[in-house]
């Protein structure tokens, strides 16, 4: 069972954190050493992957056109789904990154008696994917209250909006719960839909379970096993100023949380999570559809590949061409009698 493998991996990671947090030196490892390592691996790995993509050229302009192209003046171009300028292509990528344009097109096909095929609108994946990513963004930005001193300006309004319900002694942030709900949806859909279960690998379940565990541990340490947030902030700000120290009064759940985040950071560059970078580098999306307007260069274009030459063609067919009144470059009398064999030798040269 592929989902079981992923589940076991996440449970094992949690256990490791629980144990490490309670052995001597374990908290220093979890709270100081690993975060530094993780961020180095994350950034290094991310850059490595992007650079490795960038080392391969884009030989052809293979835009997938998803709307009317730039054409005649009286035909209206779809400038975002089929951009013909760099600015348009940037807009298209932004639409993809910020609003998940392509997922918004999603349909669900079904086969009925007849046969009849039907394609219903299906925007759940789009909705929950969007909810997941934006709640994650809000959570990350909100965490800046723990990493910046004095607290950076955008945190307060963000916290205010995120916590507008003002429920609970420690105010509930919506983003945390939306994240859990969205991750649960994305996870369950993999289990429930047969075709998704069939294509899903452990590497698909693992990040979802890991994110769920991270979100849950975060919520738990805020609302259930409350931890000393001042002590945590002293540690996290200490990490950013390279003077980290751990007060011994931080709860264990915090160490589970930070350990799982470190695992996520380390896992990121070596996994499908690199779609975060890939979405910007996909040639079918980030190129303007102006292939006939501006010549695209292929660095490995092989100039030695030539067509079968017209001369060789005429040599092979001169007789019948003249017979059919087709113009020829060389008259029959001038040309040496040619055999097909000779023609193909000629051809081999080209």
């Amino acid at each position: 069972m592929r989902v079981l493998q992923a589940f076991i991996a996440v449970v094992a990671l949690i256990l490791v954190a629980l144990v490490l947090a309670q052995v001597p030196g374990g908290q220093v490892l979890l709270g100081i050493v690993l975060p530094y390592l993780a961020i180095i691996v994350f950034l290094g790995g991310f850059i490595y992957r992007v650079v490795s993509w960038a080392k391969s050229p884009v030989p052809f302009r293979i835009t997938t056109t998803c709307g009317q192209a730039n054409s005649l003046p009286f035909i209206r171009q779809n400038k975002l789904d089929c951009p013909s300028t760099k600015a348009g292509a940037v807009g298209r990528v932004l639409l993809e990154v910020l609003l998940f344009r392509s997922l918004f097109r999603n349909t669900q096909a079904s086969v009925h008696d007849g046969p009849k095929l039907a394609y219903g609108s299906s925007k759940w994946l789009w909705l929950f994917a969007l909810l997941f990513h934006y709640s994650l963004l809000v959570i990350i930005l909100r965490h800046m209250r723990l990493f910046t001193d004095p607290i950076v300006g955008f945190v307060l309004p963000l916290k205010f909006i995120d916590g507008f319900l003002e429920i609970g002694a420690t105010t509930i942030y919506l983003s945390g719960f939306i994240l859990l709900a969205a991750v649960s949806f994305l996870f369950l859909r993999r289990l429930v839909k047969p075709y998704l279960r069939y294509i899903s690998l452990p590497a698909d379940y693992f990040p979802l379970l890991l994110l769920f565990a991270i979100g849950l541990s975060g919520i738990l340490m805020r609302h259930v096993f409350r931890v000393d947030v001042v002590a945590i902030k002293e540690l996290s700000v200490g990490l950013t100023t390279f003077t980290p120290a751990i007060s011994d009064e931080i709860g264990v759940v915090f160490f589970v949380h930070i350990f799982l985040v470190c695992v996520l950071l380390v896992y990121f560059p070596f996994s499908k999570l690199m779609h975060a970078g890939g979405v910007f580098m996909s040639p079918t999306r980030n190129m303007a559809n102006n292939s006939r307007m501006v010549r695209h260069k292929n660095p490995w274009n092989d100039p030695k590949i030539k067509p079968r030459s017209y001369a060789a063609y005429e040599d092979e067919f001169r007789e019948v061409m003249i017979g059919a009144d087709l113009p020829v470059d060389q008259e029959l009398a001038v040309a040496e009698p040619e055999e097909a064999a000779q023609a193909s030798t000629e051809q081999a040269k080209t």
């Binding site: 992957r49 490795s52 993509w53 391969s56 052809f60 293979i62 835009t63 997938t64 056109t65 998803c66 709307g67 009317q68 192209a69 054409s71 005649l72 009286f74 209206r76 097109r105 349909t107 096909a109 086969v111 008696d113 007849g114 046969p115 095929l117 994946l125 047969p194 075709y195 998704l196 294509i199 690998l201 452990p202 590497a203 499908k272 690199m274 779609h275 996909s282 999306r285 559809n289 292939s291 006939r292 307007m293 010549r295 695209h296 260069k297 490995w300 274009n301 590949i305 067509p307 079968r308 005429e314 092979e316 061409m321 017979g323 059919a324 087709l326 113009p327 193909s344 051809q347 081999a348």
Partner: protein, 548 residues
């Protein structure tokens, strides 16, 4: 015709257990073996054909040999695995698309039910995501850290004969139509994966005859059927007789290989010899004659359709290079292209890059309307639909719409012009200008979401008829929908492959619907100078009002 009777097929696609009909597969997909049996694979290329290609392009076509797809010995070279792995490495270094697409798929499943092959067969490996995983699993095994360490847990598997069989089966059950790419949040394009898969298969001599033989013909004779120049010319001129019979006008403007013409006109060669492409060809000629265009057709570069696209980028380049070479030799100003899907994929997205710059040509400008085609400023090749739409917009064509009144028309967006070019509204503009009865198919089956005919990329061969009828089902179904609802009896399209394959598809699924090119309808509606009173269309079918 297909082996399975249509009534049986109608039941099968709904009831037989498959992933699309609700059956739940168990086990792991990589444990399911690809089993070849008659009807589910294309025949391998003849030895002589492979020898021919190897002579022209060395090192990319594998060993010429006779081999049996159904047997377990494909007579592969001893080091075939090494060749494949090296081939992957080379392509990762050459194509950013491949690298990014290998790395960033999240298996969200958005592409799964977008593929016409999946919809028609219910075979899980026809989901674009799994089609890519067939290659991706090998990529992980040899090129990623996780794959090397974790193996199967990371979704990695070594390159085995089993995998190779899967590749041959499923990279020839993809028509590179790019529909999946429209829905993918990262634009991952199964067409790119399939192209790479086929290139790799060619390296070890695993290939199909229906692609390599037409490619060889195109290279040698200039058309994929291997017609010699005189036959090609005769065929085309024979159509002038038909035009005369239908319209009473003898066209004078058709010429071949004529130096000094303003335009080289490149068509898919099937338009000269295959029904119903020939009617489209008549349409082109009528339009050109109507406006007195100075053009010529080349017998040497008479195949716009590029079978190289279905093999590897080298052969694609070699076949395509004829167009610029001939334009240069004839000294034309710029090039016009007929209605052809993959020809235009190549012209629009590859030609200039591979065989340009076309600095010996002029920026295309219509000699009739003065319109400058800025969108073709560099490639200098204009699509006939763009050209004709501009003519109609400037009232340069005398049109009698009623001549198409006996046709209730719908329009099939051919995949490549739709998703590889963005040519969506020009054909519609034409249809609305020349037809009184034009109806769109349902919105999820047209424009950028159009369904493939099911037999593109060299799969329109008779030995896989059942498969083709299944793959074409989504398209046929949408046609059937408008046929029932609006009485549609004519499916127009702008692709030569479509004209051949949709014909077979409709004969199977919607026998009441015929197939035509858009230019046929334009040509049929033209009021030609000196014409007789029209009673028949270009197919000699009676016009509305003269049936009696």
């Amino acid at each position: 015709m297909a082996d399975t009777k249509v009534a049986e097929m109608k039941a099968k696609v709904v009831t037989e257990p498959s992933l699309i009909t609700g059956a739940v597969p168990t086990g792991n997909w990589w444990e399911v073996e690809a089993i070849f049996k008659p009807g589910n694979y294309c025949y391998p290329a003849k030895k002589s054909i492979v020898e021919y290609h190897r002579k022209n392009l060395s090192g990319i076509f594998g060993e010429p040999r006779d081999w049996d797809v159904e047997s377990d010995d494909w007579q592969l070279p001893e080091n075939w695995q090494e060749i494949i792995i090296d081939g992957i490495k080379e392509r990762l270094d050459k194509f950013r698309s491949l690298k990014v697409f290998m790395d960033c798929c999240v298996r969200c499943g958005a592409c799964a039910d977008k593929c016409h092959f999946f919809l028609g067969t219910g075979d899980p490996k026809n989901m674009p995501v799994l089609r890519a995983e067939l290659l991706r699993s090998v990529y992980r095994n040899n090129f990623t850290l996780a794959g090397k360490i974790l193996g199967e847990i990371a979704g990695a598997r070594p390159m085995t004969f089993k995998v190779l069989k899967e590749w041959f089966m499923y990279y020839y059950q993809c028509t590179e139509c790019r529909r999946c790419s429209v829905f993918c949040p990262y634009g991952i394009d199964a067409a790119e994966i399939t192209m790479m898969g086929r290139e790799l298969l060619h390296l070890v001599g695993v290939n199909t005859n229906w692609i390599l033989e037409p490619a060889a013909n195109s290279n040698r004779t200039g058309n994929h059927l291997g017609l010699q120049p005189h036959t090609f010319k005769e065929n085309a001129e024979f159509l002038l007789d038909d035009i005369e019979e239908a319209t009473g006008v003898r066209l004078q403007s058709l010429s071949f290989n004529r130096k000094g013409a303003e335009h080289l006109f490149v068509i898919p060669s099937a338009d000269v010899f295959a029904d119903p492409g020939i009617f489209t060809f008549m349409g082109y000629l009528l339009i050109f004659d109507h406006i007195g265009l100075d053009y010529t057709i080349s017998t040497y570069a008479s195949e716009g359709g590029n079978f190289g696209l279905f093999t590897n980028n080298q052969l694609m380049k070699k076949l395509n290079a004829k167009i610029y070479a001939e334009a240069k030799r004839l000294g034309v100003k710029w090039i016009l292209g007929g209605e052809c899907g993959h020809m235009w994929r190549v012209v629009h997205q590859y030609m200039d890059t591979m065989n340009g710059p076309a600095d010996f040509l002029e920026q295309p400008k219509s000699s009739i309307t003065g319109t400058v085609f800025t969108n073709a400023a560099s490639t200098k090749m204009v699509h006939i639909n763009e050209f004709t739409a501009d003519l109609i917009y400037h009232n340069k064509l005398k049109i009698d719409k009623s001549r198409n009144d006996h046709r209730v028309v719908t329009y099939h967006d051919s995949c490549n012009p739709a998703r590889g070019m963005g040519l969506l509204d020009e054909p519609r503009y034409l249809l609305n200008s020349v037809c009184n009865n034009f109806y769109e198919m349902p919105e999820n089956t047209i424009r950028e979401k159009t369904f493939c005919c099911g037999s593109g990329t060299g799969l329109n061969t008779n030995e896989i008829m059942d498969l083709r009828m299944r793959a074409g089902l989504p398209r046929a179904n949408a046609v059937g929908y408008v046929a029932n609802r609006h009485g549609v009896n004519m499916l127009s399209c702008i692709c030569a492959l479509d004209r051949a394959t949709l014909l077979a598809l409709n004969q199977y699924w919607n026998p009441e619907v015929e197939v035509c090119g858009v230019s046929e309808l334009v040509g049929n509606a033209l009021i030609m100078e000196g014409e007789k009173e029209r009673e028949m269309d270009l197919r000699f079918a009676p016009l509305t009002g003269v049936e009696g």
